[in-house]
């Protein structure tokens, strides 16, 4: 390792303001963790292509920080007039980012960058006293080959990292980029405007109706004896499932996500013994074209409720799920304080989650002859804040589906059977 360098940056503005709804949502999650816990840190690697020199890469980093207020933001305890949150977002006009230079010394730069990113992310951020990102440059043969980052989730979400990756070639070449607007301070102001308040109220009307009609608890039957550790996650990789879902999505004119969600909801309805299924969704909130290019954290929880009748054709369940998921997406931008107040009144929703993390629709790299799935253990934990959690993974060559459950509610063999059934149900449906 050589001595670190400092990237000096100057942004177009500085200032204090209230937090955005997205920042409040993440802050609320971090409050549940012990101080300094790194759980919501995001390690990230950006490969450096085209053999630029170190000065060009450091200049691109300076432009990145100059361009996006979120990357120059700290969160300071304090109160602003009319805002009880107790926290202020402070955008710095200028400053310096310390960047370590690390020689790959014969190892593969991108692999090493991944390890360094994990190290950078292993320590919690000092939200009030530290820039919201840490960075190191992996050098090989005197040239930068990869950047290792750790971000706090207060500053970015997964889609924001896609935005940075998309802008990177032009940040590096110095080509002009369209103006970055709005910034989080603008967004916080919009959210507090009459239009923002109306949006939040509409979302809360939708949430209230959903919360009032969802059954509780999640399972109609009492819990059984869990295994140790209690929470078990199994994964499945099935190209055959990916191919079947792709075919059904085209046939039914819905997204691949809705096909999986509909099938999963249908199975969950049977497992829970409930005619109404409620799921919390992780919503990116990027469908508004103004927000899509923002480097900021916009992700919030959505709520999805679906009635499933016994024997209802899968096509009907999936179409209803598709409409339901659009409604859930549309009502996932709100003030988390308003949502918390509502939940105190109506009772909390069951902790059943569905998260499709794919950036692109479908699976563009499925093999020509897709093979049926294999199921494998992913992990086990003594405590997880979810009764069931279904995730569609980022793989593009196969459909990766993970199912985590509280084994008091869904024993390991039922988790395995459910994953298998998603596949058999949809593969059979596609071949009819």
């Amino acid at each position: 390792m050589t001595s670190p360098v400092t990237v000096e940056f100057t942004g177009a503005r500085s200032g204090d303001g209230p937090l955005t709804w997205g920042q409040r949502a993440i802050w609320r999650l971090t409050e549940w963790l012990p101080p300094g816990d790194p759980y919501f840190n995001m390690p990230w690697v950006l490969p450096v292509h085209g053999k630029p020199g170190l000065p060009a890469v450091l200049a691109a980093l300076a432009r990145l920080l100059a361009r996006h207020d979120s990357l120059r933001t700290t969160w300071i305890p304090g109160h602003l007039a009319g805002d009880p949150a107790g926290l202020v977002q402070r955008v710095a006009g200028q400053g310096g980012l310390t960047v370590e230079l690390i020689d790959a010394a014969g190892t593969r730069p991108r692999i090493l960058a991944g390890e360094i990113a994990a190290e950078l992310a292993a320590k919690g951020f000092d939200y009030a006293g530290e820039l919201p990102l840490r960075c190191a440059v992996v050098m090989d043969g005197g040239r930068p080959r990869a950047l290792a980052f750790a971000f706090t989730h207060m500053a970015v979400d997964g889609r924001a990292l896609d935005v940075i990756a998309g802008e990177w070639p032009r940040l590096l070449s110095g080509e002009p980029l369209p103006p970055a607007a709005p910034q989080p301070l603008d967004l916080a102001e919009e959210e507090r405007s009459p239009a923002g308040t109306a949006r939040c109220e509409r979302a809360m009307r939708y949430w209230r109706a959903a919360l009032e009609r969802m059954p509780r608890p999640l399972f109609a039957t009492p819990p059984g004896t869990p295994e140790e550790p209690r929470f078990v996650k199994l994964g499945m990789e099935s190209a055959a499932l990916g191919a079947a879902v792709t075919g059904l999505a085209a046939r039914w004119e819905v997204s691949t996500s809705s096909v999986l969600l509909g099938a999963y909801a249908s199975l969950l309805s049977r497992l829970t013994g409930r005619g109404t299924v409620a799921l919390q969704l992780i919503v990116g909130n990027r469908h508004d074209p103004r927000l899509a290019p923002m480097v900021a954290t916009l992700v919030q929880d959505g709520i999805f409720v679906l009635d499933v009748a016994p024997g209802q054709p899968l096509a009907d369940v999936v179409r209803a799920a598709h409409r339901g998921v659009l409604a859930a997406y549309r009502h996932a931008r709100y003030d988390p304080a308003a949502q918390r107040a509502l939940i105190e009144e109506t009772g909390a929703p069951p902790t059943a989650y569905f998260n499709d993390v794919r950036a692109a629709a479908g699976w563009p790299n499925l093999p020509r002859h897709p093979a049926p799935g294999r199921i494998f253990p992913v992990g086990a934990w003594p405590e997880v804040d979810a009764e069931v959690f279904c995730t569609v993974g980022p793989a593009t060559h196969t459909c990766r589906l993970d199912l985590l459950a509280d084994t008091a509610l869904l024993p390991r063999e039922s988790i395995e059977a459910t994953l298998g059934e998603v596949e058999t149900l949809l593969v059979a449906e596609e071949s009819t």
Partner: protein
Amino acid sequence: MRERLAALIAEASDGEITAAQVLEADCSLTALGLTSLGYIRLIDAIEDTFGVDVEFDGAHDTLDALVDHLSRPAGHSS
């Protein structure tokens, strides 16, 4: 009202559909090429423009249905 809605639909489609195509169409907005995300943008824009709540019950997928929904007093929120 029809023209305003057609303009909002064109805007929500991200340039895929023109207002004229919407006004001439005798098929659903989905068949015209409005994507799910476009549909979300459209309903957002309608709510912001007209100050009403519109829910996804599958019944608002044509220009006529939207005009009808917005013309009914019951469609307006308090």
